[in-house]
């Protein structure tokens, strides 16, 4: 087993543990909006470490490009997905926890109607 291989396994196990903690966050965090952070923990750092581990295990130029690409895509899509779900939650009036300090979004102005947005 080479050093890289050991590093790879370490990376992966670390990633898996981060991931698990993020998932546990789904249970422990107080409200939907907070739980989204648990999702991000798993989806960003957790997944990233796992992909990194994979790259360390199979280091090659081709794999570097591919895994780099995969990581970039993963992060970008996870973020957009998180945003989409957060927004969906807010639109459907998912109650924030009572300890929420304030909500600037409530009653916020939607701005000038943009093209393609119909009559809203």
């Amino acid at each position: 087993m080479s050093v890289l291989n050991i590093l790879a396994v370490v990376c992966m196990i670390a990633g898996a543990l981060v991931f698990l903690v993020g998932a546990i966050g789904l249970l422990r965090l107080p409200d939907f909006y907070a739980r989204l952070s648990g999702v991000t923990v798993a989806g960003a750092l957790g997944t990233a470490l796992l992909l990194l581990g994979l790259l360390l295990h199979y280091p090659s130029v081709e794999n570097t490009i591919k895994i780099g690409l995969a990581l970039l895509i993963q992060l970008a899509t996870a973020a957009v997905g998180g945003n989409a779900i957060a927004r969906a939650g807010y639109l459907t009036k998912v109650k924030p926890t009572e300890i929420t300090k304030f909500d600037d979004l409530a009653g916020s102005s939607a701005g000038t109607p943009a093209e393609g947005d119909g009559k809203a």
């Binding site: 965090l29 991000t40 960003a44 945003n83 979004l105």
Partner: protein, 125 residues
């Protein structure tokens, strides 16, 4: 000269973003694994200077990628994000953190770097 520093900023950005992600991840993880919660959540309106689709998207995504914050809504004109923060001490300090991120992003998306006086433009003065 500008382009050289831009290239450097560009190369450094992933490390900056990675660092932010790691930092905030550990903050949230700590909160998860320890009993109780130190959360002080709030929805914060954050006026931003980023204008192009790419800039807005990068900023919003970076916010979403760092655990503890998530972009909930976007407005293009005037450019504004509404962000849910898990650890919000007060509105201004939170906006400042976001603007710090925005600076890093504008420094990458604009060869000339982020414009000075970030807070003066869109802040709730």
């Amino acid at each position: 000269m500008t382009y050289l520093t831009w290239a450097l900023r560009l190369l450094w950005f992933p490390f900056y973003a990675g660092g932010e992600i790691v930092k905030t991840t550990f903050q949230v993880m700590w909160d998860i694994v320890t009993p109780g919660s130190s959360a002080t959540p709030a929805f914060v309106e954050v006026p931003i200077r980023a204008t192009g689709d790419l800039e807005v998207t990068m900023l919003a995504n970076l916010i979403s990628l760092t655990p503890g914050t998530v972009t909930v809504a976007v407005r293009r004109d005037p450019s504004t994000l509404w962000v849910h923060g898990l650890y919000v001490e007060d509105r201004e300090s939170f906006q400042k953190e976001i603007h710090a991120m925005e600076d890093r992003i504008l420094a990458v998306t604009r060869p000339k770097g982020a414009p000075e006086g970030a807070k003066s433009k869109g802040g709730r003065s």
